[in-house]
């Protein structure tokens, strides 16, 4: 009996040590996280009040950029679809309007899905934090929904995701 107990305890001890070894084995792989060339900051999400024709959703910016060759910019293409619902078949289309605090006359520009913003390269190998729009900085993005589209929408929960695609490009001018 004593021998049986000793054998069982020994087996438990071996298994507990083995579990530790297995757990430790998964943490010993050597990997590196490559250093990012830049950080693209995008709005996470946005809540639009019912009936709102214009809503500020924040801005898209670039930070911690380095190593950009001379004559290179960062192009960010924006793609999106209308707000849609899982429970009803109506959609709520919208447009994105990039706005500048410096020049309100520019605030009629529309970024349709597939349009892009340009972040200009600067002399120190970085790119500008804010996108450039006709020589002015884009300070925030605004969602525009027509009132007639609100009227057509059936009751329900709607959502939409915006995708921001970035790539390093040669300066156009």
């Amino acid at each position: 009996m004593k021998k049986l107990i000793a054998a069982i305890l020994t087996l438990i001890l071996i298994l507990s040590v083995s579990a530790n070894v297995l757990a430790d084995g998964t943490t010993t792989l050597t990997t590196t996280v490559p250093s990012a060339t830049y950080t693209l900051n995008i709005p996470a999400d946005q809540e639009i009040a019912f009936g709102a024709c214009e809503s500020d959703i924040g801005n898209v910016t670039v930070t911690d950029s380095a190593g950009f060759a001379k004559g290179k910019d960062l192009k960010v293409t924006i793609t999106y679809d209308a707000f849609s619902s899982d429970s009803v078949n109506t959609t709520i289309p919208y447009k994105i309007n990039p706005r500048s605090s410096e020049n309100l006359n520019l605030n009629t520009n529309i970024l349709y899905s597939g349009d892009h913003l340009i972040f200009r390269g600067i002399s120190n190998g970085a790119v500008a934090k804010k996108a450039e729009l006709e020589k002015y900085s884009v300070d925030y993005l605004n969602i525009k929904i027509a009132s007639e589209d609100w009227g057509k929408a059936l009751a329900g929960e709607y959502s939409s995701t915006i995708t921001f695609t970035s790539e390093v490009v040669s300066s156009e001018n």
């Binding site: 693209l40 995008i42 999400d45 024709c53 009132s147 609100w150 009751a155 709607y158 695609t165 970035s166």
Partner: protein, 161 residues
């Protein structure tokens, strides 16, 4: 004795992980809610509809961007991982696509501040330089619902050697 100590540590750790995930607060979801007011006179509602409504966004997502990525040739197992910056408040699911649209790798959910497992490609690549590949970031709310948020893609050049 060591087995009992090990068992006690496992139980305590499991309790801590469970308690932490249980107390995580939900983040507000970005969406539109259209109330069930249809059938009423739309014209009489126009005065109640705000024409300009400035809503503060519910936070930003920081996406690491790359111009190039270096991979090992003739080998599916790579020695790189990708991270989700700790300042984010969302999960990442990161995918790597070859320039012909082939999905080379897709991560599990990566929580803020964490790093993915090492990249293991779906197929080994020959040495070369491949432009217009895509590193795709899908973002999900950092709660049990894992609601999909806005996302990003970055075009990268793969340097395989």
């Amino acid at each position: 004795m060591s087995a009992l100590i090990f068992l006690g540590i496992v139980i305590l750790f499991s309790f801590m992980v469970f308690f932490h995930s249980w107390t995580n607060s939900d983040e507000p979801k970005g969406q539109i809610t259209v109330p069930d007011t249809h059938g009423e006179n739309n014209e009489s509602n126009q005065d109640d509809i705000p024409q300009n409504s400035v809503i503060n966004s519910y936070g930003m997502i920081s996406i690491p961007g790359y111009e190039t990525l270096t991979l090992r040739s003739e080998n599916k197992k790579q020695k790189i991982s990708f991270n989700n910056p700790k300042e984010n408040n969302c999960y990442f699911v990161i995918s790597l696509y070859f320039n012909d649209g082939t999905c080379l790798w897709k991560s599990d959910y990566i929580k803020p501040g964490a790093v993915s497992k090492s990249v293991v490609l779906s197929e080994a690549l020959n040495a070369g330089t491949y432009k217009d590949c895509i590193l795709k970031y899908e973002c999900f709310s950092h709660d049990a619902s894992k609601k999909q948020l806005n996302g990003a893609e970055t075009k990268v050049t793969l340097i395989v050697k």
